[in-house]
Symmetry: C2
Subunit: 260 residues, 2 copies
Protein backbone atom coordinates (compact mmCIF):
# COMPACT_ATOMS: atom_id res chain seq x y z
CA UNK A 1 0.00 0.00 0.00
CA UNK A 2 2.89 2.32 0.94
CA UNK A 3 4.54 1.36 -2.33
CA UNK A 4 1.40 2.25 -4.31
CA UNK A 5 1.19 5.62 -2.54
CA UNK A 6 4.86 6.33 -3.29
CA UNK A 7 4.42 5.40 -6.95
CA UNK A 8 1.37 7.66 -7.14
CA UNK A 9 3.40 10.54 -5.65
CA UNK A 10 6.22 9.99 -8.18
CA UNK A 11 3.63 9.90 -10.98
CA UNK A 12 2.10 13.20 -9.81
CA UNK A 13 5.54 14.82 -9.51
CA UNK A 14 6.45 13.68 -13.03
CA UNK A 15 3.24 15.22 -14.44
CA UNK A 16 3.88 18.48 -12.56
CA UNK A 17 7.48 18.58 -13.79
CA UNK A 18 6.44 18.01 -17.41
CA UNK A 19 3.68 20.61 -17.21
CA UNK A 20 6.07 23.14 -15.68
CA UNK A 21 8.57 22.55 -18.48
CA UNK A 22 5.88 23.01 -21.13
CA UNK A 23 4.59 26.06 -19.38
CA UNK A 24 7.72 28.06 -18.83
CA UNK A 25 10.22 27.31 -21.55
CA UNK A 26 8.80 29.50 -24.31
CA UNK A 27 12.06 29.72 -26.18
CA UNK A 28 12.56 26.01 -26.76
CA UNK A 29 12.36 25.09 -30.43
CA UNK A 30 8.85 23.85 -31.10
CA UNK A 31 10.02 22.00 -34.18
CA UNK A 32 13.37 20.46 -34.79
CA UNK A 33 15.20 18.55 -37.31
CA UNK A 34 17.19 18.11 -40.39
CA UNK A 35 15.97 18.77 -43.87
CA UNK A 36 12.25 18.31 -44.25
CA UNK A 37 11.65 17.65 -40.55
CA UNK A 38 12.01 21.27 -39.61
CA UNK A 39 8.38 22.25 -39.78
CA UNK A 40 6.07 22.71 -36.83
CA UNK A 41 3.27 21.34 -38.92
CA UNK A 42 2.10 20.07 -42.24
CA UNK A 43 0.19 22.46 -44.50
CA UNK A 44 -2.75 20.72 -46.13
CA UNK A 45 -3.64 22.95 -49.05
CA UNK A 46 -5.19 25.40 -46.62
CA UNK A 47 -3.60 28.51 -48.15
CA UNK A 48 -3.29 29.89 -51.67
CA UNK A 49 0.21 28.88 -52.88
CA UNK A 50 1.53 32.47 -53.30
CA UNK A 51 0.47 33.30 -49.71
CA UNK A 52 2.05 30.08 -48.40
CA UNK A 53 5.25 31.10 -50.22
CA UNK A 54 5.32 34.73 -49.05
CA UNK A 55 4.44 33.44 -45.57
CA UNK A 56 7.42 31.12 -45.18
CA UNK A 57 9.88 33.25 -47.12
CA UNK A 58 9.32 35.88 -44.41
CA UNK A 59 9.71 33.17 -41.73
CA UNK A 60 6.11 33.25 -40.56
CA UNK A 61 5.22 29.66 -41.46
CA UNK A 62 7.27 26.61 -40.42
CA UNK A 63 6.34 23.63 -42.54
CA UNK A 64 7.22 19.97 -43.15
CA UNK A 65 6.48 19.23 -46.80
CA UNK A 66 5.05 21.42 -49.53
CA UNK A 67 1.26 21.32 -49.81
CA UNK A 68 0.08 18.85 -52.47
CA UNK A 69 -1.84 21.61 -54.22
CA UNK A 70 1.40 23.58 -54.65
CA UNK A 71 3.51 20.96 -56.50
CA UNK A 72 2.73 22.53 -59.88
CA UNK A 73 3.20 26.04 -58.48
CA UNK A 74 6.64 25.22 -57.06
CA UNK A 75 7.69 23.42 -60.26
CA UNK A 76 6.64 26.44 -62.30
CA UNK A 77 8.44 28.78 -59.89
CA UNK A 78 11.68 26.80 -60.00
CA UNK A 79 11.80 26.09 -63.73
CA UNK A 80 10.13 29.32 -64.90
CA UNK A 81 11.88 32.69 -64.76
CA UNK A 82 10.76 33.66 -61.27
CA UNK A 83 13.30 31.69 -59.21
CA UNK A 84 16.13 32.96 -61.38
CA UNK A 85 14.90 36.57 -61.26
CA UNK A 86 14.34 36.50 -57.49
CA UNK A 87 17.83 35.05 -56.97
CA UNK A 88 19.33 37.66 -59.30
CA UNK A 89 17.71 40.45 -57.25
CA UNK A 90 19.32 39.10 -54.05
CA UNK A 91 22.76 38.64 -55.59
CA UNK A 92 22.68 42.03 -57.28
CA UNK A 93 22.12 43.65 -53.88
CA UNK A 94 24.83 41.52 -52.25
CA UNK A 95 27.28 42.62 -54.97
CA UNK A 96 26.42 46.31 -54.47
CA UNK A 97 26.96 45.87 -50.74
CA UNK A 98 30.23 43.92 -51.16
CA UNK A 99 31.64 46.44 -53.64
CA UNK A 100 30.82 49.29 -51.23
CA UNK A 101 32.79 47.81 -48.33
CA UNK A 102 36.03 49.45 -47.25
CA UNK A 103 37.81 46.83 -45.21
CA UNK A 104 41.12 46.51 -43.39
CA UNK A 105 43.58 44.46 -45.47
CA UNK A 106 44.46 42.03 -42.71
CA UNK A 107 43.23 38.80 -44.31
CA UNK A 108 40.47 38.49 -41.71
CA UNK A 109 37.45 39.42 -43.86
CA UNK A 110 35.19 36.47 -44.56
CA UNK A 111 31.81 35.84 -46.17
CA UNK A 112 29.81 32.81 -45.03
CA UNK A 113 28.15 30.62 -47.67
CA UNK A 114 25.70 27.81 -47.03
CA UNK A 115 25.94 24.77 -49.37
CA UNK A 116 22.58 23.26 -50.38
CA UNK A 117 20.53 25.67 -52.49
CA UNK A 118 22.97 28.48 -51.84
CA UNK A 119 26.19 27.25 -53.47
CA UNK A 120 24.98 23.96 -54.96
CA UNK A 121 21.48 23.35 -56.28
CA UNK A 122 19.42 20.39 -55.10
CA UNK A 123 16.77 21.13 -57.73
CA UNK A 124 17.65 18.05 -59.86
CA UNK A 125 17.20 15.90 -56.73
CA UNK A 126 13.95 17.48 -55.51
CA UNK A 127 12.44 17.54 -59.01
CA UNK A 128 12.44 13.72 -58.78
CA UNK A 129 10.42 13.82 -55.54
CA UNK A 130 7.64 16.28 -56.37
CA UNK A 131 9.69 19.38 -55.47
CA UNK A 132 9.42 18.60 -51.75
CA UNK A 133 5.91 17.16 -51.47
CA UNK A 134 7.33 13.81 -50.30
CA UNK A 135 8.74 13.58 -46.76
CA UNK A 136 12.51 13.96 -46.53
CA UNK A 137 14.32 10.66 -47.16
CA UNK A 138 17.81 10.65 -45.62
CA UNK A 139 18.96 7.60 -47.63
CA UNK A 140 18.14 8.99 -51.05
CA UNK A 141 19.53 12.41 -50.10
CA UNK A 142 22.79 10.77 -48.96
CA UNK A 143 22.95 9.02 -52.34
CA UNK A 144 22.52 12.42 -54.00
CA UNK A 145 25.44 13.83 -51.97
CA UNK A 146 27.61 10.82 -52.84
CA UNK A 147 26.89 11.33 -56.55
CA UNK A 148 28.53 14.83 -56.23
CA UNK A 149 26.59 15.93 -59.27
CA UNK A 150 24.84 19.07 -57.95
CA UNK A 151 25.19 22.06 -60.28
CA UNK A 152 26.23 25.49 -58.99
CA UNK A 153 23.68 28.20 -58.41
CA UNK A 154 25.00 30.49 -61.12
CA UNK A 155 24.05 33.70 -59.31
CA UNK A 156 25.83 32.64 -56.12
CA UNK A 157 28.89 31.65 -58.14
CA UNK A 158 28.97 35.20 -59.54
CA UNK A 159 29.00 36.61 -55.99
CA UNK A 160 31.66 34.07 -54.92
CA UNK A 161 33.98 35.10 -57.77
CA UNK A 162 33.57 38.80 -57.04
CA UNK A 163 34.29 38.28 -53.34
CA UNK A 164 37.55 36.52 -54.19
CA UNK A 165 38.53 39.50 -56.38
CA UNK A 166 37.74 41.77 -53.44
CA UNK A 167 40.03 39.57 -51.27
CA UNK A 168 37.15 38.55 -49.04
CA UNK A 169 37.72 34.95 -47.99
CA UNK A 170 35.04 32.29 -48.26
CA UNK A 171 33.84 30.22 -45.32
CA UNK A 172 31.48 27.42 -46.30
CA UNK A 173 29.22 26.47 -43.41
CA UNK A 174 26.92 23.52 -44.04
CA UNK A 175 24.63 21.20 -42.16
CA UNK A 176 26.05 18.35 -44.24
CA UNK A 177 27.86 15.84 -42.03
CA UNK A 178 31.59 15.50 -41.55
CA UNK A 179 31.60 12.07 -43.28
CA UNK A 180 30.24 13.75 -46.45
CA UNK A 181 33.31 16.01 -46.68
CA UNK A 182 35.11 14.45 -49.64
CA UNK A 183 32.03 14.19 -51.90
CA UNK A 184 30.94 17.71 -50.96
CA UNK A 185 34.33 19.25 -51.70
CA UNK A 186 34.67 17.38 -54.99
CA UNK A 187 31.22 18.68 -55.93
CA UNK A 188 31.99 22.26 -54.90
CA UNK A 189 35.23 22.30 -56.93
CA UNK A 190 33.64 20.69 -59.95
CA UNK A 191 30.82 23.29 -59.85
CA UNK A 192 33.30 26.19 -59.80
CA UNK A 193 33.77 26.90 -56.08
CA UNK A 194 37.46 26.02 -56.25
CA UNK A 195 38.92 27.80 -53.25
CA UNK A 196 37.94 28.59 -49.68
CA UNK A 197 39.31 29.39 -46.25
CA UNK A 198 37.37 26.60 -44.50
CA UNK A 199 34.47 24.25 -45.06
CA UNK A 200 32.67 23.57 -41.78
CA UNK A 201 30.52 20.44 -41.43
CA UNK A 202 28.02 19.45 -38.78
CA UNK A 203 29.77 17.01 -36.49
CA UNK A 204 28.20 14.67 -33.92
CA UNK A 205 28.26 17.20 -31.03
CA UNK A 206 25.60 19.22 -32.82
CA UNK A 207 23.42 16.36 -33.97
CA UNK A 208 20.58 17.24 -31.60
CA UNK A 209 20.62 21.01 -32.09
CA UNK A 210 18.69 23.19 -34.50
CA UNK A 211 20.61 24.48 -37.51
CA UNK A 212 20.23 28.03 -36.14
CA UNK A 213 22.04 27.00 -32.94
CA UNK A 214 24.71 25.00 -34.79
CA UNK A 215 25.48 27.80 -37.27
CA UNK A 216 25.47 30.49 -34.56
CA UNK A 217 28.00 28.47 -32.54
CA UNK A 218 30.24 28.00 -35.59
CA UNK A 219 30.07 31.71 -36.43
CA UNK A 220 30.98 32.53 -32.85
CA UNK A 221 34.08 30.31 -33.16
CA UNK A 222 35.03 32.16 -36.35
CA UNK A 223 34.70 35.56 -34.65
CA UNK A 224 36.60 34.29 -31.59
CA UNK A 225 39.39 33.21 -33.98
CA UNK A 226 39.61 36.81 -35.24
CA UNK A 227 37.61 36.58 -38.46
CA UNK A 228 35.38 39.50 -39.43
CA UNK A 229 32.13 38.15 -40.93
CA UNK A 230 31.32 40.84 -43.50
CA UNK A 231 28.49 38.96 -45.22
CA UNK A 232 26.39 35.83 -44.89
CA UNK A 233 24.23 34.11 -47.49
CA UNK A 234 21.83 31.19 -47.26
CA UNK A 235 18.49 29.92 -48.49
CA UNK A 236 17.07 29.21 -45.01
CA UNK A 237 16.36 31.60 -42.14
CA UNK A 238 18.31 29.16 -39.94
CA UNK A 239 21.42 30.13 -41.96
CA UNK A 240 20.92 33.80 -41.06
CA UNK A 241 19.20 34.13 -37.68
CA UNK A 242 20.74 33.50 -34.27
CA UNK A 243 23.93 35.11 -33.00
CA UNK A 244 27.24 36.24 -34.50
CA UNK A 245 25.66 36.91 -37.85
CA UNK A 246 26.83 39.54 -40.27
CA UNK A 247 25.69 43.17 -40.56
CA UNK A 248 24.09 42.19 -43.87
CA UNK A 249 22.55 38.77 -44.41
CA UNK A 250 21.16 37.61 -47.74
CA UNK A 251 18.26 35.17 -48.07
CA UNK A 252 17.90 33.27 -51.32
CA UNK A 253 14.48 31.83 -52.16
CA UNK A 254 13.74 28.14 -51.59
CA UNK A 255 10.19 26.75 -51.73
CA UNK A 256 11.27 23.05 -51.64
CA UNK A 257 12.04 22.53 -47.94
CA UNK A 258 12.20 24.39 -44.67
CA UNK A 259 14.90 23.85 -42.03
CA UNK A 260 14.71 25.25 -38.52
Amino acid sequence: MMCMARMFMIFVLLIVATAAQDTFDLRRPSCRGGKGNGGCRRFDNELPCPSWQSGFETNNLHWKTIPEACVGYVGQYMYGNQYKEDSQAVIKEALIYANSLRLPRDGKNVWVFDVDDTSLSTLPYYARYGFGVEPYNATSFDDWVISWSAPALQESLKLYKRLLCLRIKIIILTERRDDQRSFTEKNLKCAGFHTWEKVLYKGPPFSGETVTEYKSAERKKLEDAGYRIVGNIGDQWSDLLGTNSSYRNFKLPNPMYYVI
Copy 2:
Protein backbone atom coordinates in the same frame (compact mmCIF):
# COMPACT_ATOMS: atom_id res chain seq x y z
CA MET B 1 53.73 79.52 -43.77
CA MET B 2 53.88 77.53 -40.49
CA CYS B 3 50.18 78.14 -40.06
CA MET B 4 49.44 76.75 -43.55
CA ALA B 5 51.54 73.65 -42.83
CA ARG B 6 49.72 73.10 -39.54
CA MET B 7 46.30 73.47 -41.20
CA PHE B 8 47.40 71.00 -43.87
CA MET B 9 48.45 68.48 -41.18
CA ILE B 10 45.10 68.88 -39.39
CA PHE B 11 43.31 68.38 -42.71
CA VAL B 12 45.30 65.18 -43.41
CA LEU B 13 44.63 63.87 -39.89
CA LEU B 14 40.91 64.55 -40.28
CA ILE B 15 40.82 62.60 -43.56
CA VAL B 16 42.73 59.70 -42.00
CA ALA B 17 40.38 59.65 -38.98
CA THR B 18 37.28 59.64 -41.21
CA ALA B 19 38.69 56.90 -43.41
CA ALA B 20 39.56 54.78 -40.36
CA GLN B 21 36.02 55.16 -39.05
CA ASP B 22 34.54 54.11 -42.39
CA THR B 23 36.89 51.21 -42.58
CA PHE B 24 36.32 49.55 -39.24
CA ASP B 25 32.78 50.15 -38.11
CA LEU B 26 31.03 47.53 -40.24
CA ARG B 27 27.99 47.36 -38.01
CA ARG B 28 26.99 51.00 -38.23
CA PRO B 29 23.62 51.43 -39.95
CA SER B 30 24.31 52.30 -43.56
CA CYS B 31 20.87 53.85 -43.91
CA ARG B 32 18.84 55.58 -41.30
CA GLY B 33 15.65 57.30 -40.90
CA GLY B 34 12.02 57.49 -40.38
CA LYS B 35 9.39 56.34 -42.81
CA GLY B 36 10.54 56.46 -46.38
CA ASN B 37 14.08 57.55 -45.54
CA GLY B 38 15.08 54.11 -44.37
CA GLY B 39 16.53 52.89 -47.64
CA CYS B 40 20.15 52.58 -48.50
CA ARG B 41 19.33 53.46 -52.04
CA ARG B 42 16.70 54.26 -54.60
CA PHE B 43 15.62 51.47 -56.94
CA ASP B 44 15.22 52.78 -60.46
CA ASN B 45 13.10 50.16 -62.18
CA GLU B 46 16.13 47.89 -62.34
CA LEU B 47 14.33 44.76 -61.13
CA PRO B 48 11.10 43.01 -62.11
CA CYS B 49 8.48 44.14 -59.53
CA PRO B 50 7.84 40.63 -58.08
CA SER B 51 11.61 40.15 -57.50
CA TRP B 52 11.88 43.61 -55.92
CA GLN B 53 9.01 42.62 -53.62
CA SER B 54 10.32 39.17 -52.65
CA GLY B 55 13.75 40.80 -52.22
CA PHE B 56 12.70 43.36 -49.64
CA GLU B 57 10.09 41.21 -47.92
CA THR B 58 12.99 38.89 -47.03
CA ASN B 59 15.04 41.93 -45.93
CA ASN B 60 17.60 41.69 -48.72
CA LEU B 61 16.88 45.09 -50.31
CA HIS B 62 16.74 48.37 -48.38
CA TRP B 63 14.96 51.00 -50.42
CA LYS B 64 13.77 54.62 -50.31
CA THR B 65 10.70 54.88 -52.53
CA ILE B 66 8.97 52.27 -54.66
CA PRO B 67 10.27 52.05 -58.23
CA GLU B 68 8.15 54.08 -60.65
CA ALA B 69 7.56 51.02 -62.79
CA CYS B 70 5.98 49.26 -59.77
CA VAL B 71 3.25 51.79 -58.91
CA GLY B 72 0.61 49.78 -60.78
CA TYR B 73 1.96 46.52 -59.40
CA VAL B 74 1.77 47.75 -55.78
CA GLY B 75 -1.72 49.23 -56.33
CA GLN B 76 -2.91 45.92 -57.74
CA TYR B 77 -1.27 44.02 -54.87
CA MET B 78 -2.85 46.22 -52.19
CA TYR B 79 -6.34 46.49 -53.66
CA GLY B 80 -6.48 43.03 -55.28
CA ASN B 81 -6.81 39.83 -53.25
CA GLN B 82 -3.10 39.20 -52.75
CA TYR B 83 -2.42 41.60 -49.85
CA LYS B 84 -5.46 40.29 -48.01
CA GLU B 85 -4.57 36.64 -48.64
CA ASP B 86 -0.92 37.12 -47.64
CA SER B 87 -2.00 38.88 -44.43
CA GLN B 88 -4.52 36.13 -43.70
CA ALA B 89 -1.77 33.49 -44.01
CA VAL B 90 0.37 35.31 -41.44
CA ILE B 91 -2.49 35.86 -38.98
CA LYS B 92 -3.72 32.30 -39.33
CA GLU B 93 -0.29 31.06 -38.28
CA ALA B 94 -0.07 33.56 -35.42
CA LEU B 95 -3.48 32.33 -34.16
CA ILE B 96 -2.38 28.67 -34.30
CA TYR B 97 0.77 29.57 -32.36
CA ALA B 98 -1.12 31.71 -29.79
CA ASN B 99 -3.75 29.02 -29.21
CA SER B 100 -1.00 26.41 -28.65
CA LEU B 101 0.72 28.38 -25.87
CA ARG B 102 0.49 27.14 -22.30
CA LEU B 103 1.43 30.09 -20.17
CA PRO B 104 1.68 30.88 -16.46
CA ARG B 105 -1.37 32.87 -15.32
CA ASP B 106 0.58 35.65 -13.68
CA GLY B 107 -0.61 38.55 -15.83
CA LYS B 108 2.85 38.98 -17.34
CA ASN B 109 2.21 37.58 -20.84
CA VAL B 110 2.27 40.25 -23.52
CA TRP B 111 2.15 40.41 -27.31
CA VAL B 112 3.77 43.40 -29.02
CA PHE B 113 1.89 45.13 -31.85
CA ASP B 114 3.26 47.80 -34.15
CA VAL B 115 0.79 50.56 -35.22
CA ASP B 116 1.14 51.67 -38.86
CA ASP B 117 0.25 48.89 -41.29
CA THR B 118 0.07 46.38 -38.47
CA SER B 119 -2.85 47.64 -36.34
CA LEU B 120 -3.95 50.63 -38.43
CA SER B 121 -3.76 50.81 -42.21
CA THR B 122 -2.06 53.72 -43.95
CA LEU B 123 -3.31 52.49 -47.33
CA PRO B 124 -5.85 55.35 -47.76
CA TYR B 125 -2.98 57.81 -47.15
CA TYR B 126 -0.41 56.12 -49.42
CA ALA B 127 -2.96 55.56 -52.20
CA ARG B 128 -3.07 59.37 -52.55
CA TYR B 129 0.72 59.49 -53.08
CA GLY B 130 1.28 56.75 -55.65
CA PHE B 131 1.51 53.95 -53.06
CA GLY B 132 4.94 55.11 -51.90
CA VAL B 133 6.52 56.32 -55.15
CA GLU B 134 6.74 59.88 -53.78
CA PRO B 135 9.36 60.64 -51.10
CA TYR B 136 8.05 60.58 -47.55
CA ASN B 137 6.48 63.89 -46.55
CA ALA B 138 6.47 64.36 -42.77
CA THR B 139 3.94 67.22 -42.89
CA SER B 140 1.27 65.39 -44.83
CA PHE B 141 1.81 62.22 -42.79
CA ASP B 142 1.39 64.22 -39.56
CA ASP B 143 -1.89 65.57 -40.98
CA TRP B 144 -2.96 61.98 -41.64
CA VAL B 145 -2.18 61.03 -38.00
CA ILE B 146 -4.11 64.08 -36.73
CA SER B 147 -7.15 63.08 -38.81
CA TRP B 148 -7.24 59.78 -36.77
CA SER B 149 -9.14 58.19 -39.64
CA ALA B 150 -6.99 55.11 -40.33
CA PRO B 151 -9.02 51.91 -40.60
CA ALA B 152 -8.00 48.75 -38.74
CA LEU B 153 -6.23 45.93 -40.50
CA GLN B 154 -9.06 43.44 -40.11
CA GLU B 155 -6.78 40.41 -39.87
CA SER B 156 -4.68 41.97 -37.09
CA LEU B 157 -7.86 42.94 -35.26
CA LYS B 158 -8.88 39.27 -35.31
CA LEU B 159 -5.56 38.30 -33.70
CA TYR B 160 -5.88 41.14 -31.15
CA LYS B 161 -9.34 39.96 -30.07
CA ARG B 162 -8.22 36.35 -29.72
CA LEU B 163 -5.19 37.35 -27.64
CA LEU B 164 -7.43 39.24 -25.22
CA CYS B 165 -9.60 36.10 -24.86
CA LEU B 166 -6.42 34.14 -24.14
CA ARG B 167 -5.57 36.75 -21.46
CA ILE B 168 -2.44 37.81 -23.29
CA LYS B 169 -2.00 41.54 -22.77
CA ILE B 170 -1.36 43.94 -25.62
CA ILE B 171 1.65 46.24 -25.79
CA ILE B 172 1.51 48.71 -28.65
CA LEU B 173 5.00 49.83 -29.67
CA THR B 174 5.14 52.49 -32.36
CA GLU B 175 7.60 54.86 -33.94
CA ARG B 176 4.90 57.54 -33.81
CA ARG B 177 5.97 60.41 -31.58
CA ASP B 178 4.87 61.08 -28.04
CA ASP B 179 3.04 64.27 -29.13
CA GLN B 180 0.85 62.13 -31.43
CA ARG B 181 -0.45 60.12 -28.47
CA SER B 182 -4.00 61.44 -28.22
CA PHE B 183 -4.81 61.19 -31.95
CA THR B 184 -3.24 57.74 -32.15
CA GLU B 185 -5.18 56.39 -29.18
CA LYS B 186 -8.46 57.87 -30.41
CA ASN B 187 -7.81 56.24 -33.77
CA LEU B 188 -6.91 52.85 -32.23
CA LYS B 189 -10.07 52.82 -30.09
CA CYS B 190 -12.29 53.95 -32.93
CA ALA B 191 -10.85 51.18 -35.15
CA GLY B 192 -11.59 48.48 -32.55
CA PHE B 193 -8.33 48.25 -30.54
CA HIS B 194 -10.06 49.39 -27.37
CA THR B 195 -7.82 48.08 -24.63
CA TRP B 196 -4.10 47.65 -23.98
CA GLU B 197 -1.50 47.37 -21.28
CA LYS B 198 0.67 50.19 -22.65
CA VAL B 199 1.17 52.23 -25.81
CA LEU B 200 4.83 53.15 -26.22
CA TYR B 201 5.79 56.13 -28.39
CA LYS B 202 9.14 57.23 -29.73
CA GLY B 203 10.33 60.06 -27.50
CA PRO B 204 13.12 62.55 -28.16
CA PRO B 205 15.93 60.39 -26.67
CA PHE B 206 15.55 57.98 -29.58
CA SER B 207 15.18 60.49 -32.37
CA GLY B 208 18.57 59.71 -33.88
CA GLU B 209 18.39 55.91 -33.57
CA THR B 210 17.17 53.33 -36.03
CA VAL B 211 13.73 51.84 -35.36
CA THR B 212 15.42 48.47 -34.74
CA GLU B 213 17.50 50.00 -31.93
CA TYR B 214 14.58 51.95 -30.49
CA LYS B 215 12.22 48.97 -30.45
CA SER B 216 14.90 46.61 -29.05
CA ALA B 217 15.54 49.04 -26.19
CA GLU B 218 11.80 49.32 -25.43
CA ARG B 219 11.39 45.53 -25.47
CA LYS B 220 14.35 45.22 -23.10
CA LYS B 221 12.62 47.61 -20.69
CA LEU B 222 9.48 45.47 -20.89
CA GLU B 223 11.42 42.29 -20.10
CA ASP B 224 13.32 44.05 -17.29
CA ALA B 225 9.93 45.03 -15.86
CA GLY B 226 8.96 41.34 -15.72
CA TYR B 227 6.84 41.03 -18.86
CA ARG B 228 7.11 37.86 -20.93
CA ILE B 229 6.95 38.77 -24.65
CA VAL B 230 5.17 35.74 -26.10
CA GLY B 231 4.63 37.18 -29.57
CA ASN B 232 5.53 40.16 -31.73
CA ILE B 233 3.92 41.40 -34.92
CA GLY B 234 4.91 44.14 -37.36
CA ASP B 235 5.05 45.00 -41.03
CA GLN B 236 8.75 46.01 -41.01
CA TRP B 237 11.82 43.93 -40.23
CA SER B 238 12.84 46.74 -37.86
CA ASP B 239 9.81 45.79 -35.73
CA LEU B 240 11.10 42.23 -35.39
CA LEU B 241 14.90 42.16 -35.56
CA GLY B 242 17.32 43.29 -32.87
CA THR B 243 17.31 42.09 -29.28
CA ASN B 244 14.66 41.06 -26.73
CA SER B 245 12.32 39.87 -29.43
CA SER B 246 9.84 37.06 -29.05
CA TYR B 247 10.33 33.36 -29.77
CA ARG B 248 7.89 33.81 -32.67
CA ASN B 249 7.77 37.04 -34.69
CA PHE B 250 5.23 37.68 -37.40
CA LYS B 251 5.93 39.84 -40.45
CA LEU B 252 2.98 41.31 -42.31
CA PRO B 253 3.51 42.37 -45.93
CA ASN B 254 4.04 46.03 -46.81
CA PRO B 255 5.26 47.14 -50.24
CA MET B 256 4.61 50.87 -49.66
CA TYR B 257 7.61 51.89 -47.56
CA TYR B 258 10.67 50.44 -45.86
CA VAL B 259 11.92 51.51 -42.42
CA ILE B 260 15.29 50.49 -41.01
